[in-house]
């Protein structure tokens, strides 16, 4: 799979970390990368179902590029949203649609999380991808 330079670099950074705590810390830090979806825009349509936390995402297309906003009550989940932001935000929708959740597995983050959290990430990924498709 060919990833963007930014995403490839992020995957490498995660792969270089052995300590689970440090990996989680890095996910926490990536929460700052999220373009926050304001709380007042959280609704049933934006909600990521099957996630134990309150997690909301909104996707739009600007000149064929993905515009991704998100928010969660968990910093860890918001960190995962930050990773997804780096993977898809501002990138051409056709290119984004070639992505699979494998990049998160390659980073080693999904096996650092509880099964419910990693399922939540996959649900978020699927929701985002299907909304991009709908808008194309």
């Amino acid at each position: 799979m060919n990833y963007s330079a930014e995403l490839s670099e992020l995957i490498e950074e995660f792969q270089a970390i052995d300590d689970k705590m440090e990996r989680l810390e890095m996910v926490f830090d990536l929460a700052d990368e999220v373009n926050l979806l304001p709380l007042e825009d959280w609704n049933d349509a934006t909600r990521v179902h099957g996630c134990q936390s309150e997690a909301h995402v909104k996707v739009g297309l600007v000149d064929s590029n993905v515009n991704f906003q998100a928010g969660a009550d968990s910093k860890l989940v918001q960190g995962l949203m930050g990773i997804l932001t780096m993977a898809i935000h501002g990138i051409n929708a056709d290119e984004v649609l070639t992505l699979t959740p494998d990049f998160a597995t390659e980073m080693g983050i999904l096996n650092s999380l509880s099964p419910s959290r990693s399922n939540g990430f996959r649900n978020m990924f699927d929701k985002v991808m299907s909304e991009i498709k709908q808008q194309m």
Partner: protein, 395 residues
């Protein structure tokens, strides 16, 4: 004691496991693991019918569990179930359907686990039964005035002995007395109390007591329903099948007279054999002093957490369990649990299957630390130290 539990030697992410999720399930000593292994290696057979040697050993092993249960909890009848949940459902189906009718009332409390709410809601819907819930007060105790007010006309009282969220021990002796004075039967959910206390079922006077093996160092998938003689005579078979019958013909069937009437199908033989060993292990422990020891640790932990700015949900009276539920003012509980797990600390987060209680407390979940007899105070200290580190780095 810790040497007897092989899993406690395990490392998680390169750090020693500190297992603090004992209200969910406890770890198993070698004696339990070995007994189950030995059964499958040397004695595996079906129980009760065949006359061959293996069947005899399997039957003896299975029935030794019933004997051990009756002896430990002083009961005349011990029905072996898949756990607390099935035991409560058994009361709903085998006793409830036969003894309740349109317009009857059942008393529950807001402190119940979902497994002591949902079966009654299902029965209530089907049979038009009224459910009356005793509220939990601000001091985390049951409102006994409202319990007394609700008892009139109730046929059954279902109450949790020790809350799995708060560790609060309810005044079950008073509840049984009041229920009996008013002609109501009592079902005690003892999932959290049976592992932590010496309970004399006959002396307590409850009619039913449900609990699980896995919360008292036994295997998963097995539990028991202790039943008083009077109540037992009022129960009708629930599940039909092999083992629960006396004779079967095409004209009809007759049923066993004893507990087997409620144990249709091949039972959990290896699990029963493992549970017997767990009960022996528990019998060998000075449960009172061990309980005092871990309760002291829980009290210390609650104090430390309060000093760290957490809200602690619990009071830790003498008979309460060594359970400490808490919340950080801003940090998400699951985030905290993930960070704790990174250094080998196993705690529970979420609603703990007690959503009505959490609704009363106006919260959606807690982080829960629950101790058992193999936990040490040093583990609790290391938990506090590491939690402080997490808060410094992430909160």
């Amino acid at each position: 004691m810790r040497d007897e539990f092989p899993i406690l030697q395990r490392e998680i992410n390169g750090y020693p496991l500190v297992y603090l999720d004992n209200a969910a399930t406890t770890q198993k000593p070698n004696s339990v693991i070995d007994a189950m292994n030995d059964y499958y290696s040397n004695s595996n057979a079906n129980v009760h019918r065949a006359v061959h040697t293996l069947a005899g050993e399997a039957t003896e092993g299975y029935e030794s569990c019933r004997t051990a249960l009756k002896s430990r909890f002083n009961a005349n009848k011990a029905i072996i179930t898949s756990g607390t949940t099935e035991a409560i459902n058994l009361v709903a189906h085998a006793w409830g359907r036969a003894n309740l009718s349109d317009g009857d009332a059942i008393i529950l409390t807001e402190m119940e686990h979902h497994s002591d709410i949902v079966p009654w809601q299902m029965l209530a819907q089907e049979m038009n039964i009224e459910l009356r819930y005793v509220p939990v007060q601000k001091d985390l105790t049951l409102d006994m005035d409202l319990f007394e007010a609700a008892i009139d006309g109730a046929k059954l009282v279902c109450v949790v002995h020790i809350s799995n969220v708060l560790g609060v021990c309810n005044p079950v002796a008073d509840i049984v007395r009041i229920a009996k004075e008013n002609g109501a039967r009592v079902l005690l959910d003892a999932a959290q109390s049976a592992p932590h206390q010496d309970i004399d079922f006959i002396e307590l006077g409850a009619d039913f007591m449900a609990f699980s093996a896995h919360k008292m160092c036994g295997p998963t998938g097995i539990g028991a329903l202790l039943v008083a003689d009077d109540a037992f005579s009022e129960m009708q078979p629930f599940m039909g099948g092999g083992d629960m019958i006396e004779t079967v013909s095409i004209r009809g069937s007759t049923y066993q007279k004893n507990e087997q009437k409620f144990e249709a199908g091949t039972p959990r033989i290896a699990e029963a054999i493992g549970w017997t060993e767990a009960i022996k292990w528990l019998n060998g422990i000075d449960i009172k002093s061990e309980h005092e020891r871990i309760l002291q640790s829980a009290r210390w932990l609650a104090g430390q957490l309060r000093e760290m700015g957490m809200t602690v949900y619990g009071r830790h009276d003498d008979n309460d369990a060594a359970v400490v539920s808490f919340l950080h003012p801003t940090m998400n509980s699951e985030d905290l649990a993930h960070l704790l797990d990174a250094r080998g600390f196993a705690v529970r987060t979420g609603h703990h299957c007690a959503q009505p209680l959490l609704e009363r407390l106006e919260i959606t979940g807690t982080v829960r630390v629950s101790l058992y007899f193999y936990n040490t105070h040093e583990e609790v200290i290391s938990f506090v130290n590491y939690l402080s580190e997490i808060l410094e780095r992430f909160a």
